[in-house]
Symmetry: C2
Subunit: 291 residues, 2 copies
Amino acid sequence: MNIGFIGMGTMGAPMAKRLVQAGHSVTVHNRTQEKEEVVAAVGARRAASAKEVGWDAELVIIMVSDTPDVQAVVLGDTGVIHSMQPGSILIDMSTISPAATRKIARALSEKGIEMLDAPVSGGSEGAIHGTLSIMVGGKPEVLERVHSILEIMGSTITLVGPIGSGQVTKAINQVIIAGVYASVAEGLALGLAAGVDIEAAHRAVSGGAAGSWILENRGANMIQNHYPLGFRSRLHRKDLGIALDAAGDLGVPIPIAAYVAQLETGLIKRGFGEEDVSNIARVIREQAGLN
Amino acid sequence: MNIGFIGMGTMGAPMAKRLVQAGHSVTVHNRTQEKEEVVAAVGARRAASAKEVGWDAELVIIMVSDTPDVQAVVLGDTGVIHSMQPGSILIDMSTISPAATRKIARALSEKGIEMLDAPVSGGSEGAIHGTLSIMVGGKPEVLERVHSILEIMGSTITLVGPIGSGQVTKAINQVIIAGVYASVAEGLALGLAAGVDIEAAHRAVSGGAAGSWILENRGANMIQNHYPLGFRSRLHRKDLGIALDAAGDLGVPIPIAAYVAQLETGLIKRGFGEEDVSNIARVIREQAGLN
């Protein structure tokens, strides 16, 4: 398939590389053009703008940072909306606003271009190994046409509803992990302050109702007060902003997520935004005088 | 071994029954004496008071509801402290205050009686099948003497530090589950309000970083707004009270656990205390107008 791919960051570059290596004809573009080189080296063509990516693409995939970036590369002066052909498909795999997603889809629809929103979880490792979990919003028949392409990048592909639903599902994911990180940190801070054998206590609670991916995979780092990546705190804060806006629009109070967002705002200001998101434990430990 | 067992509730009765069936000589007592009958029926002797349980017991196990209950059956006028022999061991498997536990242990120590605190997780099913997770505080050499007895009741036995540490670990467990329940409820409420395919979204987020025992085992009930037991909301609120007191004594702020405790206080007042603790989703849904 003729595929355009916009966004050659930590996620986009390895995802595009997998598409090239699977035998597809891939044209890439990135705002900072040097970042295209690693994918060009395995056989991708390079385009000078998003618009240029769109001309002969049957499918355009976008993987950029935030809502305004997607709006720019789709709807902006040099956006793909000015070049993509009727009947072609755009998949936005970035994590952005569900409301903005629906607006972009409406604009594309007027030109006869189909859209799916398909944000992912699984991090850069999942992008490299093609094991991402992909949450798809859109029409089932459109997903059908690109399912085999998504399978090159992800091991789990779930259709979760109409356009925008992928972004809502990603927001659900980020809201849940916000509270789980903070709750695990509260529990561990209590154990550290009480002077129990914290590794043994961690082990004892991990197997039961308190068990989670986060306790299992990040608990030891939180005990050590050491936060290697993982997933950047700064990016999780960005995603929580999207979730809080979406929840606000819907009239859904999510006070725990809002509280965690506030703590992350402080961590980022203090220079900890590039640490793993498990660094929410840093501030919860500090509040207890535990550092 | 000659074992005394005080507390024939939902947990204590099946635990004592397992000890009888393993061939031990067990004497039981319960405040409401009819509850002794089910264990007497399989061969336990009955005692008219806690004190009477203590006379010839090498080991006394306590499984009652709350801190004042343990204080009464150990230190009260008819408590086991007045009858247990020097060199014997008391194991409190109730969930109570760590600070009160240390005081009780000191009083017993003056009489030459050893104590372990050994609260459990795993619920009534774990009590029946002997698959409880037991979190033990106390001296390793005392645990050594009763390890084979604990193995009859639990499949995981973890020594987590000196006396009181078992209770702290249980508090860690209850603090973590408080926040995880509430965070999962916030995420699912967002999805329900947004009108995504909520079962599909639940599936999509369960396998990754948002995954937990609670999302896996209670998410569907929270989506249905239906809260069969499980573990009573009322008892979790009691345990959170213990955790909040312990955290307060140590100067550890645990605001998410405190917030969940407040919501549970309201649920209990409104008659929902006998539902499963996953009913925290009931109030989070209500706040979003989702019922």
